[in-house]
């Protein structure tokens, strides 16, 4: 059975991601470094909300070191919503705060004529391969902009990055755990892949 560690930043609903992830492995919550188990296969960094608050907790709790070590061991890291944004270099939301720099690029305020800001609801995401176009639930006012565009594996209308993948790092801008059965299935496939 796959062991899945879920980092709790205390700023968002952690229960739903746990509910969804536990369908695919043994999950446990990480509330401090001491909770981390060495035999963890997949680490999930969820989140929803402010980049400033998120990074503040990551630093205070030294989760940055945990995440770097984990990725170095070639194990799978999954960032969700704010969790994906924290993997970038920086964010317009908090200009003095550095991100984890696991994916080159920044987080920008959404500014798109055809979109309500913040995004709050369901949008069709089309993927580069193997995954059918379907609607997923988004809840964010900022969006990632990876420098290497080929890392963008899924997007809204081919313009707004929704799924970013780089080697063993996967990031969803939407909430798969809140996107009905097909969202949970996509999360599961990503965990087990």
């Amino acid at each position: 059975m796959i062991k899945i560690g879920i980092i709790d930043l205390k700023i968002n609903n952690i229960k739903s991601i746990n509910n969804a992830a536990k369908l695919f492995g043994n999950t446990y919550l990480i509330n401090s470094l001491a909770d981390y188990k060495e035999d963890t296969n997949v680490l999930i960094l969820p989140g929803n909300g402010s980049f400033f608050q998120g990074m503040k907790i990551v630093k205070e709790k030294s989760y940055d070191k945990l995440i770097f070590d984990f990725v170095k061991q070639d194990k799978k890291l999954i960032g969700i919503c704010l969790g994906l944004q924290l993997l970038m270099d920086s964010s317009e939301e908090a200009k003095d705060v550095s991100g984890l720099s696991l994916i080159e690029g920044s987080v920008k305020k959404l500014n798109e004529k055809n979109l309500k800001v913040p995004l709050l609801g369901w949008y069709d995401v089309s993927f580069k391969k193997d995954i059918k176009t379907q609607s997923f639930y988004f809840n964010n006012g900022f969006i990632v902009e990876p420098i290497k565009k080929d890392l963008i594996q899924g997007s809204i209308n081919n313009t707004i990055p929704a799924y970013v993948a780089k080697e063993n790092i996967h990031g969803f801008q939407f909430h798969p755990e809140k996107s009905s059965h097909h969202g949970v299935k996509l999360l599961g496939e990503t965990i087990l892949k």
């Binding site: 205390k10 700023i11 968002n12 609903n13 952690i14 229960k15 739903s16 509910n19 969804a20 929803n48 909300g49 402010s50 608050q53 704010l82 055809n114 979109l115 309500k116 800001v117 913040p118 995004l119 709050l120 609801g121 369901w122 949008y123 069709d124 379907q134 609607s135 639930y137 809840n139 964010n140 006012g141 809204i156 209308n157 909430h175 755990e177 809140k178 996107s179 009905s180 059965h181 097909h182 969202g183 949970v184």
Partner: protein, 256 residues
């Protein structure tokens, strides 16, 4: 083209552990078990579930957390909770129970600084402001405490003020049409539309059939439709409503 799908949002009013429904916020009666009903609406294709704790007193809180816990164990769509939300601590408890976002009405009217506090802590996308509108004379007023008290603030003024805040959405409820199943309050809908909010807007109160919903969406751009009585009393089925709206070229979400 608009990319966003129009959301169909069941609204569950909860008193203690019961799903209840009234007419114009009065004559509340038990209509079922909120956990079973939420699960059914999820399976029928709802895009989100809104829960309103209408007792919202301290002693009943544990009941509410338990209900939300049980709902979010089985429902994999966003669950938003409101009713007497007054503090950051209170919101953290709701998050722990599995709520995704909060809905605030009375406290935002009494203490608008709370809006800033919530959006700073959890982000703008986290917060929905609910407006409970009642027409008195020729004007709509924002009511508080589940319609029991008048804030003396006009809906049109409150909408204007809300544009200064970072919020995720505004849910506009018609108390006068609530539970009547005779259609939406169009005058109120137009007031909400003319406010030109940058965030999403959801309308609630009065829908009784698919046509009511189509006619409104065909003329005014709402991002979500909140449904109570018409779902609870089987006047509308979510999957049938969505197929119907799709045929009318309304951009709703359908699931496999």
């Amino acid at each position: 083209m608009k990319y966003e799908k129009i959301r169909i949002i069941p609204k569950l009013e909860i008193k203690n552990q019961y799903l209840i429904k009234g007419i114009r916020y009065e004559g509340l009666r038990k209509v079922g078990d909120p956990i079973e009903v939420a699960k059914r609406y999820f399976e029928e294709g709802a895009d989100q579930i809104n829960i309103n704790d209408i007792v919202a007193s301290l002693y009943s809180r544990d009941n509410l957390y338990e209900v939300i816990n049980k709902i979010t164990d089985q429902v994999f769509i966003p669950v938003c909770v409101g009713g007497g939300v007054k503090s950051i601590e209170h919101i953290r408890e709701l998050l722990k129970s599995g709520a995704d976002r909060v809905i605030i009405n009375s406290e935002a009217l009494r203490n608008p600084k709370f809006i800033l506090e919530v959006s700073k802590t959890f982000g703008a996308q986290f917060l929905s402001i609910s407006i409970e509108a009642k027409k008195i004379g020729t004007e709509y007023y924002c009511m508080m405490d589940h319609g029991r008290e008048n804030s003396n603030k006009k809906v049109v003024d409150w909408l204007k003020e809300l544009k200064n805040y970072q919020i995720g959405e505004v849910i506009i409820n018609s108390i006068d049409n609530d539970g009547m199943e005779k259609g939406f309050d169009w005058e109120l809908a137009k007031i909400a539309d003319e406010a030109e909010l940058k965030c999403s807007k959801v309308i609630s109160g009065g829908a009784g059939n698919n046509i009511h919903i189509y006619q409104l969406l065909n003329s005014i751009n709402f991002d979500g439709i909140s449904l109570g009585a018409s779902l609870h009393f089987n006047k509308i089925k979510i999957n049938e409503l969505k197929s119907y709206l799709l045929k009318q070229k309304i951009n709703v979400n359908t699931y496999d």
